[in-house]
Symmetry: C2
């Protein structure tokens, strides 16, 4: 159960077996079913969850009532609303399991306890946030500078595995276009190959 998360943290810094044990004992194991919501708008996010197995999406509902998908998260990633978690303020986001998923979670008090006992874990979390930040930056650049077709091709190249697991209309929502238009983009690409 802990092997993948322990690999993850050992890639971020070097930890003794005792420290890893402290860490593991603070984690809570959680199973979620398909379609289950881990977080909804207005709630305060009380977890940072490492994904052992599964696939989730983080989305936002805009004024017009349409869903904007911000992120897909799969194995070996963390999922949370970091701002809501740390500042204990209501979230604007929804987090939904798209498959049955297995998570290892920390709540705020356990995270605090961890950082008190093993301060080097600060580094693990800083690296986690930085990765999120870089990913978001690249995503913003792509969203702003590319056409729908380019965004789709990039997505397929960068996340081929996610593309296989996720319904097309979710991908469209992630790429910032309508499902109908994504369908047309795909047709155009398919025709071009012939």
């Amino acid at each position: 159960m802990f092997t993948s998360i322990n690999d993850y943290v050992n890639r971020c810094g070097s930890f003794s077996p005792e420290e890893i044990l402290i860490f593991n004992e603070l984690l809570k194991h959680r199973l979620v079913k398909k379609k289950q919501l881990l977080l909804r708008e207005g709630e305060i996010c009380d977890f940072e969850a490492y994904i052992v197995k599964g696939c989730l999406r983080t989305y936002y509902i805009d004024e017009n009532g349409s869903e904007v998908t911000l992120q897909f998260s799969v194995e070996d990633w963390w999922v949370s609303d970091i701002g809501s978690f740390h500042e204990r303020k209501p979230s604007l986001l929804y987090i939904e399991a798209m498959e049955e998923s297995e998570l290892l979670t920390l709540n705020p008090s356990r995270k605090e306890e961890l950082l008190a006992k093993v301060p080097q874990f600060e580094r693990v979390f800083r690296l986690m946030i930085q990765r999120h930040l870089s990913a978001l930056e690249h995503r913003l650049i792509r969203t702003m500078a590319q056409t729908a077709e380019e965004r789709y091709l990039d997505f397929m190249e960068q996340y081929p595995k996610i593309a296989l697991r996720v319904h097309q209309h979710y991908i469209a929502a992630y790429l910032g276009m309508t499902p109908e238009f994504l369908s047309k983009v795909r047709r155009r690409l398919a025709n071009r190959k012939d």
Copy 2:
């Protein structure tokens, strides 16, 4: 020179005068002229800069050679390419002073030294990154879910001061539209008010 940055860090956590002194002595004061580049593509970003006075923009040049403005930064913000800075890898970004600016900077070794001497500063930087992350998240949501006109109105509401200092074509680049179209949006809004 240090009052505003010291206020900033004291809002993030509580520090003794001695700790603040250590911090201030590690900072390097830097003046940059209008149009000067602090960072260009391919360079490794070697600073995290607190802006005492001035106004900068961070941008990216896409395949078609057009500039995508990611951020404007003004007084009481930090500017850097965080990913490049921490992982010592070449940046994709440019950072340019749009006005004569006054900065307080940390390079990687001084930041390390600071964190070694006053570990609570981890918190200051974690909060800084989190703020960046939240800002980017909101920006992504707005970029994806709103029309050009809505993005412009939001921008004017959120950053009225920046709007006064920055040329319109930079604002257009930030909002992800052409300068011509921004001009048309503005005309439409002006007519509507009459």
